[in-house]
Amino acid sequence: MARHFVIVGAGECGARAAMALREQGFDGDVTLVGGETHLPYERPPLSKHGMLAEVFAAKTIATAERLAEANVGFRGGVQVAAIDRGGKRLLTADGTALPYDKLLLATGASPRRLPGVEGERIFYLRTLEDAQRLRGELLPGRRLAIVGGGFIGLELAASARARGAEVTLIEALPRLLSRAVPEAIAAQIQARHELAGVKLVFGDGIAGVTSDANSATVALNSGRRVEADLVLVGIGAVPNISLAAEAELEIDNGIAVDRHLATSDADIFAAGDCCSFPLKIYGGRRVRLESWRNAQDQGSLAACNMLGANEAISTVPWFWSDQYELGLQIAGLSDEGASIVRRDLGNGASILFHISADGRLVAASGIGVGNAVAKDIRLAEMLIAKQARPMQASLADADVKLKSLLAA
């Protein structure tokens, strides 16, 4: 039995994997190496209530006590520079070697940069430091320009409005969240942002951003200019693959893993935002997810498989977002759908079921106040996992309990 398991990346996925190794009874050494100096913390609050709380505090995933209790060797602030696969060891940026028997890469993702756009007034949001810096800027009357109408940009727009900042959000495509949610939900989200006073610009690309120490100007392709005190760029994230790529592991829109999360080297696993993997329920389609629950689930699964369990990925993608009082939840991959069936839950809450050409429920997107859609999205997720073909009339009828369809 291998004795020293090393995990690179102490985010949601890496931290979960370390704890899961112990929960599974592994009694060898576990080292969790994190490039950030902090204890593992949750990212989702950084754009949401973390921005609003009176006192900014990181939500820790695993406290020092819990890590110590589980006998996990946490090495924070240590960047891994290279994997020496032949010698089965890692080389850290400060030049030390760390041997491993099995290795998990949970290196996550980094914000996609806007080429050539740099400066003090340009912000990205991924880490605690990013959030702290931004938070200090979001003051009443401050002008924030957000590039990108994705989840990070929209959540931050909501938080910035709550803090009294003026927000202009620029989206290159004709509507918000084009790839993520159906048009009806995007329209509901857009209306809510407009109500909050966010100025939205659609269908206009960025020609350039100029900035000095105090302000920035975003020039758009149309010739329009947006003057701001600061610019947040939220145009997606790219997987952190350089370690794996330099070690010549297979890369395919992320570190390529098989259905057991193994890379092209059987002793090296990858999980979470950094990897792409095949999803059985969609015919083995390879995807990469940037989702909190996926990071957790894959962390646990990677731990089991590092211990030889040989279990396949079986989860349904799931994602949530909070903006203002609205809660959005998505289960499954909506782009697998050919048609949509709508269920109204009352009070403005609704669920859109995505049905494939052959009648299978492949995804469900829901939006409503608070957690109004949670229960039904969870049940939809189970139906999706079962590859069910529920009657469309039943899906549309809010009086038919989804639980009853599950039993069918």
Binding site: R16, M19, W292, Q296, W318, W320, A372, A374
Partner: protein
């Protein structure tokens, strides 16, 4: 001081479901199990303070509506990440078609 409080009518909760009950500034969750017994726990998730009554009950488990943290509602036990702190449970009795909890 321990006291019995009327939380709801027995029929207010569906089988294998949960409702919220507020009392004296505290939130409780009242459950009815698939085998038709009643249970009560603290009503807010121990991860973030989210009302569990919007969550899904399956067998002995209540799943938090926000991030799917799972608890056994009969024992209050947290079943793993992201929840690691158990829920407090409360004794329950049925009287004259009403559900009472001991707080």
């Amino acid at each position: 001081m321990v006291e019995w409080i009327e939380a709801c009518g027995a029929d207010d909760v569906d089988e294998e479901d949960v409702i919220r009950f507020d009392h004296a500034g505290k939130v409780f969750a009242i459950y009815r199990s698939p085998d038709d017994r009643y249970y009560a726990t603290d009503g807010l998730c121990t991860h973030e303070q989210i009302s569990l009554a919007d969550g899904l009950v399956m067998d002995d488990i209540i799943e938090c509506p926000k991030h799917n943290g799972r608890f056994n509602y009969k024992t209050g036990e947290a079943k793993g990440a992201p929840v690691c702190v158990n829920l407090r449970t409360y004794a329950v009795k049925l009287e004259n078609g009403a559900v009472f909890i001991e707080v």
